[in-house]
């Protein structure tokens, strides 16, 4: 410590002001290592490791470790490890994995034979980091070292490093919501430094990310499993409700709720390929109920349920109108060999990726956290614009003759796209609307009105004639979306 006070006074001073210091927790309590540890190094006559893993923190914070392990945060690296090569390696370059993906999702830290940490994987405090001791996660992702301030971790800003930007703009969504607005105005009343931080007891001004996703509220205990209260998956091409399966060894697994729930005591394959015995299964209803109980600290029951209904309706709309049809169309194109299996070598693949991963996720997050701007303008409006003006035209161009088989039936399967078969349904939103059709008698008498009176009539005729011309039109102009949507 004497050395570090001189050589890195910043971290020494942060520790000195921390609760750790007050409790007598010093450097070696966290950094001690066994010589056999993969990343053990000698330092001033002691054996230490630079990386303090969740396992190390768990020596004192056992409950938090148990909750955190197996959570969507701890699995953040594992969840995308299959996807990373396509985006980070093919589309850009491997350097982006270290500077981009891994900084949020966590790296698989590699200790080299000479004891040094591979710079391609370290420094890293991504929340799903695979540590040299095998544990997953990084506590310092939220609890900035070496102060480990409670108040800092309770701030919405603790989440901003990763939960911002186009695909999970939760910082922006929260700030644009009423919750975020009040939080900012009432920051003084948030009691962020309190020992316990139970919503409704220790603070009532506004919720932060922590409040709803992890925090204690009334009878609801706090948890370090940040995804536990989420009924839906929102960052998938199609949202599904999910069971949360907890294994006897504490590991967790999420399963789509349209399957039968696994029974207690059955053997199940975990995400990492090993098997485990099921200890308890929480259905999406139970997960939703816990989340709603947090709301109830400040809102009425009817208010809460109705809000959740509005949110669910948006997810269902996204799924039914855009997510499922787009996924079905993509699947058809892949199966017919019209798209190569290689991702991102065709423009349509970018369009589809942005449809669900960026715009679609934004819409769903906006609805989940009550930011009308993100639900609509930054979200579902862009989903609709993309779907009708980019995705469908590009998909038709790719499908060519097969559009009638691969695309039209998908769109016709629901009522969602029926509006396109009424091209006469006028609306002044674009600044133009046809004059109301005049009676045939007077229109013939008035020379000027004649043109405007005839125009809608001609459009009706072309609409009627369309079924016969549809097939040749598709052949002649495969990119056109004119024919297939009725």
């Amino acid at each position: 410590m004497s050395c570090h006070t001189k050589s890195s006074p910043g971290l020494a001073e942060q520790w000195r002001g921390s609760a750790h210091h007050q409790a007598g927790v010093n450097c070696m309590d966290c950094h001690q290592a066994d010589p056999a540890d993969a990343d053990a190094i000698t330092h001033e006559g002691q054996v230490i490791s630079v990386i303090v893993s969740p396992k190390d923190c768990g020596r004192c914070h056992q409950t938090e470790l148990d909750e955190q392990s197996g959570s969507v945060h701890a699995e953040a690296h594992a969840i995308i490890s299959e996807r990373v090569p396509a985006l980070a390696h093919n589309l850009t370059g491997a350097a982006m994995q270290a500077a981009g993906c891994d900084q949020c999702h966590g790296s698989a830290v590699k200790v080299r034979g000479d004891g040094s940490l591979d710079p391609a994987t370290w420094p890293n405090s991504g929340i799903g980091r695979i540590n040299p001791d095998g544990s997953k996660g990084s506590c310092s992702s939220c609890h900035g070292r070496h102060a480990f301030s409670k108040a800092q971790a309770r701030e919405p800003d603790a989440c901003v490093r990763c939960h911002s930007g186009p695909d999970s703009p939760d910082k922006e969504v929260f700030e644009a919501s009423k919750h975020g607005m009040i939080y900012k105005a009432q920051h003084e009343a948030m009691n962020l430094d309190a020992d316990t931080w139970v919503a409704g007891q220790d603070y009532t001004a506004a919720p932060t990310c922590v409040t709803c996703h992890m925090g204690a509220a009334g009878k609801v205990p706090s948890t370090h499993d940040v995804g536990m209260r989420n009924a839906w998956s929102l960052n998938t091409p199609v949202s599904v409700q999910q069971y949360l399966v907890v294994f006897e060894d504490g590991d967790k697994l999420e399963l789509p709720a349209d399957q039968k729930p696994p029974k207690r005591g059955t053997e199940l394959t975990k995400a990492d390929g090993t098997t485990g015995k099921v200890k308890v299964v929480a259905g999406p209803d139970r997960r939703r109920k816990i989340m709603s109980m947090v709301c109830l600290e400040c809102h009425g029951k009817n208010f809460t349920e109705s809000f959740m209904d509005q949110f669910d309706a948006v997810v269902a709309l996204y799924n039914g109108k855009f997510g499922e049809p787009a996924a079905a169309i993509m699947q058809g194109l892949y199966e017919q060999g019209l798209l190569t299996p290689l991702p991102f070598d065709e423009p349509l693949e970018f369009t589809y990726w942005e449809l669900w991963h960026d715009e679609g996720a934004r819409a769903r997050h906006g609805a989940a956290m009550a930011s009308p701007n993100h639900a609509w303008w930054e979200g579902m409006y862009l989903v609709g614009r993309n779907f009708y003006s980019r995705f469908l035209p590009q998909a038709r161009a790719v499908a060519g003759d097969a559009a009638g088989e691969l695309i039209d039936p998908v769109l016709a399967a629901s009522d969602h796209h029926r509006w396109q078969s009424s091209p006469d349904a006028a609306n002044p939103i674009l600044g133009w609307s046809p004059l109301p059709a005049l009676e045939p008698g007077p229109s013939e008498a008035l020379g000027d009105a004649d043109q405007s009176g005839k125009a809608p009539q001609a459009r009706v005729e072309s609409q009627v004639a369309e079924p016969q011309t549809a097939a040749p039109m598709t052949e002649a102009a495969p990119a056109s979306e004119g024919s297939g949507n009725d």
Binding site: S7, I41, G45
Partner: protein, 209 residues
């Protein structure tokens, strides 16, 4: 009047032997000085091909490339000061020559890198046993100022009871962990990756010697 006479046992033969012995003694001392000097030079050390791997890292280090132009040679660090200790070090060092001639093929970079950790451990022990004496030929602890604000204070207050090598390892040659935390499997895996060998090949190479 006192007449100075040599004692009777100083015969002509004895006198001759003394003169010849004295002269050859001086010549031998000169020879040792020159010999120690020569065998401490980079040229001599690098006359073995196996030493070129140590040289690669040395040339990247600040002990080779110092802004002031001061350059530490192999012997400056690895051979003790003073003719007696220098000669002793060289005598002990002949075991390296024997190993070079009759031991593993250290000229092979794989073999060389695989055996490097043991060499590093031995070198560190050597420094520690001598209280880092060769470091102190050039570095005076009380004169270390450093470029960072508190380097001087650290070398006064926090270095007590420690010798240079306790903190300053892996300065010049390829980094090797301390013996306590060294892991042979990890080192072997690194060498296999570096030289594009099959997993397990390093252990086979090591087993051959």
């Amino acid at each position: 009047m006192i007449k100075l006479r040599a004692p009777l046992f100083i015969t002509r033969h004895v006198l001759f032997a003394l003169v010849v012995g004295g002269v050859s003694g001086v010549v031998f001392m000169f020879f040792l000085i020159e010999f120690d000097h020569f065998t401490s030079s980079n040229e001599f050390c690098l006359s073995c091909h196996s030493m070129s791997y140590a040289d690669d890292f040395y040339r990247q280090s600040v002990h080779y490339n110092s802004p002031s132009g001061v350059r530490a040679s192999c012997g400056d660090c690895h051979v003790s000061e003073g003719i007696i200790m220098a000669t002793y070090d060289h005598a002990v060092g002949t075991k390296d020559l024997i190993k070079q001639l009759f031991g593993p093929d250290y000229d092979d970079p794989v073999v060389n890198t695989l055996h490097l950790p043991e060499a590093a451990f031995a070198a560190r022990d050597w420094f520690r046993k001598r209280d880092s004496a060769t470091c102190k030929r050039c570095h005076a602890q009380e004169a270390i100022m450093g470029t960072r604000a508190n380097t001087a204070a650290i070398h006064q207050e926090d270095a007590e009871g420690k010798t240079c090598i306790d903190c300053h390892i892996n300065l010049v040659h390829r980094p090797v962990p301390e013996r306590l935390t060294f892991k042979r499997e990890a080192w072997n895996a690194m060498v296999e990756e570096e030289f594009g060998l099959e997993p397990g090949a390093a252990a086979t190479v090591m087993g051959e010697h």
